[in-house]
Amino acid sequence: MENTRNTQQLLTAREAGLVGCSVCGRVHPATASVCLRCGAAISSRDPHSLQKVWAWLTAGIITFIPANTYPMLVTETLGSETRSTLIGGVLELMHHGSFGIAAIVFFASIVIPGSKFIAIAYLALGIGRPQRLSTHRRHQIYELVEFVGRWSMIDVFVVAILTALVQLGSAASIHPGIAAVSFALSVVFTMLAAQSFDPRLVWDADKDTHA
């Protein structure tokens, strides 16, 4: 990271006529198409990366809509059925004064997935266009999105655990709603979108800008 401040001296592999294996990391000449060590396909840039990103992202956003509009939890207590959506749950928590928990739920369920969409979209849009943020900053955003992705399933885990625990027959029982599946799918699609993104494109764009 000590290079972040002197991007001017940066030399990409591509500029050096080399290509690195994205699986094992071995460096090959630019002409190589198969990794000599691990046998993975090598390409300097993934030609479909952006397409895939957009596709996964779209799917993620689409599934995020029912995740918010449909009930996440269906609670049956003594014959009465309560359906709570994500936002509804947050509002209810606030109503009961649990602002901390409400904040956590709101942050984990709404803010983070939303930010991920924005971040990925921003990164993808930034390819091939002049950007205000430096390439290094954008790369950091990418790393962050990748890192956060694996923690986004907290809501789904909570629903899964509650569903498994609270099955007390007619007294009280909890079932997952449509939103739980949608939310899980949304998280998976977002992660796949982040995965599909080829961060090397960021550098290319940067190169182009500075070239």
Partner: protein, 694 residues
């Protein structure tokens, strides 16, 4: 390191079309979109139809939570609760399942199910935990467009969609009719009543009743409904009767129906029945209902018709043949003076007279005419012993003046009447009272008083008072007789006699101990044996004497007293006869005589005789003792004259005067004892003989 040191990479621009270049990954969002849209569309489709229900209040209704149910299946959810524009009522908006909403009848009933406790039980308990819900009932129709409804304030008792017949029951008094009360048919609950509604004019109450299928087929136009509220007690000519309905009916009331006569037509919805007070009236109503072709007749009475009302019975030989339709007065000028007559109009049912049900008026009148010619007359009669109500009786009379049915001033045929024997119940009661009044009660009482007085006089008469004293004297004398020393001395004296005899024997034995006179001893033994033989009777005699004494002792004063009491009783009985006043002196004298008899008995010396006998027995014993005392001398002489001893002893032996006399004495003693015993027995058997003298 310059870029130029590396071979240039061939970068071929992407010329391929955008579509060909498209990644398969794009299928994922497309699929996701399709699925999402599908779900959304499904939700939209299943969103249901918004309906509004108007309620008085919305107690317990929670938007998004309260469900709408039909046959206990959830068909929708309340979305919103708001007010009507005039704020008077509550509008509950609810989303109902689309397919269900299409069948909603404009008459659909919605009501809120809440926990309810009533005389008929507890309902809606489940809503305590789950909260209220809106229940509904309707008869499904097709392609319904009805979306606004008015909710019922309470659970409707008769829910639409049930199979059965809805009828109306009209009654004057709705006090015993409560909503939900059961309708019985022969004791089985076959339906229930709705809320009673007062008619617009306020003079009657109408209650709708729903008879469940299949029981509604028992309903006919001839069905009679009667009140079955709780229990009824009636006292009639047939006695006391108590009718108790079911416990539920006891609390909430109820009505019952039955087909009193057969052959009614099936009823349709909204047939109106009238409610009778009791089963009896309901059953009797069949007879009070006159057929349409009944004949109007008139009866004219000269006497008071108080107690005769419109609707009163007309009976012929005890059978109801019609009823009085009206009563009025008119002035009869026919007799020259303006007499007020009372006219009762009767309706007579030809069917009850045995004529054809559709007999025309002329036939009926002709039939009545023939009856009148045979002596039938109308008269007033009381309906029952305890009622002042009157009825008109058509009775067959004998020997009445011939009469015919003739038209009166209005042309109504008139049945001739005769005066009634019992014009008025009150008059009868008065007569009874008058009779009671005329009873010579005071005379009877006076006589009773004087009777009592004379009885008292008899009882307090001197002789009467003395009678018990005399009896007591008698008893005490008896006692003194028994307790007399002489009487009691008898056993002692006898014992003394025996002792003395025994002393003699001992002496004799002592004397017989002389060794030298062993040979004479045998004779002496024989003599002793004789004496022993003679004395062998003694124990029996003594026993007899003891028995006498015991019997004399056992003469119980109580028995005597009882006997005296009996005598007293008979004496008391004698009081009832004439000349009884002379009895006490006679009784006293009789007692005196008895006393005298007793005195004689005592003076007569029965006991003295015995005593004397005993005394003589003692004397005899003394003699024996004396003789025995002489024995030593004799034996002394015998010592000297052994030879003569045999002879002496021989004479002393079997035929000695001593022996004979002793035996005679003892025999007499025995006889005396027997006589005393007989006397005692006689007294014992018949103590009265002591008093009466026989």
């Amino acid at each position: 390191m310059t870029p130029n040191d590396f071979p240039q990479m061939e970068i071929t621009p992407e010329k391929r079309s955008m579509w060909r270049n498209l990644s398969y990954v794009w299928l994922v969002p497309v699929f996701a979109l399709i699925v999402s849209l599908g779900v959304a569309w499904q939700s939209y489709l299943g969103r249901g139809v918004l309906i509004t229900i108007e309620f008085e209040n919305a107690a317990g209704i929670t938007p998004k939570d309260t469900t709408i149910r039909f046959h206990d299946i959830v068909i929708g959810t309340v979305e919103e609760v708001s007010f009507t524009s005039d704020m008077a009522k509550v509008i509950v908006s609810a989303r109902i399942d689309k397919t269900v909403a299409a069948t909603l009848n404009p008459e659909t009933l919605f009501w809120v199910v809440r926990p309810e406790v009533s005389a008929r039980g507890v309902s809606g308990l489940s809503t305590v935990l789950s909260g209220v819900y809106v229940d509904s009932a309707w008869v499904p129709i097709e392609n319904s467009e009805a979306r606004a409804f008015v909710g019922a304030a309470q659970t409707p008792l008769i829910q639409p969609g049930l199979e059965g017949t809805r009828i109306s029951i009209r009654t004057k008094d709705g006090s015993s009719l409560t909503a939900g009360a059961p309708v019985f048919f022969r004791g089985i609950e076959v339906g229930q009543l709705d809320t009673p509604v007062l008619s617009d004019t306020g003079d009657s109450t109408t209650v709708e009743a729903f008879i469940n299928a299949p029981y509604d087929k028992f309903l006919t136009t001839d069905s009679r409904f009667w009140n079955m509220s709780g229990f009824s007690v009636s006292l009639g000519p047939s006695g006391l009767s108590l009718n108790v309905a079911s416990l539920g009916a006891l609390l909430t009331g109820g009505v019952a129906f039955d087909n009193v006569v057969s052959g009614g037509d099936p009823v349709t919805d909204s047939t109106v029945f009238s409610l009778f007070e009791s089963e009896t009236t309901a059953r009797e109503s069949v007879f009070t209902q006159l057929s349409e072709n009944s004949v109007t007749m008139a009866v004219i009475f000269a006497e008071s018709v108080r107690g005769l009302n419109a609707g009163a019975l007309v009976e012929y030989r005890g059978l109801r043949v019609g009823q009085v339709s009206s009563i009025g007065a008119f002035i009869d000028r026919g007799t020259g003076q303006n007499a007020v007559r009372l006219r009762a109009l009767l309706k007579i049912d030809p069917q009850t007279l045995g004529l054809a049900a559709d007999a025309d008026q002329a036939t009926t009148i002709a039939f009545l005419e023939s009856l009148v010619e045979d002596g039938m007359r109308a008269k007033l009669a009381t309906t029952s012993l305890f009622s002042a109500a009157l009825k008109i009786e058509l009775t067959d009379t004998v020997g009445e003046e011939a009469a015919r049915i003739g038209p009166d001033a209005n042309g109504t045929p008139v049945i001739p009447s005769i005066p009634s024997e019992l014009p008025d119940f009150t008059a009868t009661a008065e007569g009874v009272l008058k009779r009671i009044n005329n009873l010579p009660i005071e005379d009877v009482l006076n006589q009773a008083v004087s009777l009592m007085a004379s009885i008292e006089a008899i009882a307090s008469a001197k002789g009467m008072l003395e009678a018990p004293d005399a009896a007591l004297g008698l008893i005490s004398e008896m006692r003194s007789l028994i307790g007399k020393d002489d009487t009691q001395a008898i056993p002692t004296e006898l014992r003394g006699l025996v002792g003395e005899l025994r002393g003699i024997v001992t002496d004799l034995r002592a004397q017989g101990a002389v060794d030298q006179l062993i040979s004479a001893l045998g004779n002496l033994d024989a003599a002793s044996a004789n004496i022993a033989t003679a004395s062998g009777d003694l124990p029996a005699l003594i026993a007899d004497l003891r028995a006498i004494a015991a019997k004399a002792n056992d003469l119980k004063a109580e028995e005597l007293l009882e006997a005296v009491t009996r005598v007293m009783d008979s004496a008391n009985a004698l009081l009832l006869t004439d000349g009884m006043k002379s009895i006490p002196p006679a009784l006293a004298s009789a007692l005196d005589e008895v006393q005298a008899a007793l005195r004689d008995l005592r003076d007569g010396g029965a006991i003295e005789n015995t005593n004397a006998a005993l005394a003589s027995a003692r004397e005899a014993a003394d003699a024996v003792a004396k003789a025995a005392a002489d024995l030593p001398d004799v034996t002394g002489q015998l010592n000297a004259l052994v030879a003569k001893a045999d002879k002496l002893i021989a004479t002393y032996g079997a035929k000695s005067t001593f022996n004979t006399e002793t035996l005679d004495l003892l025999r007499e003693l025995q006889k005396t004892a027997k006589a005393v015993a007989q006397l005692a027995q006689t007294i014992e058997r018949n103590p009265n003989s002591l008093i009466i003298g026989r």
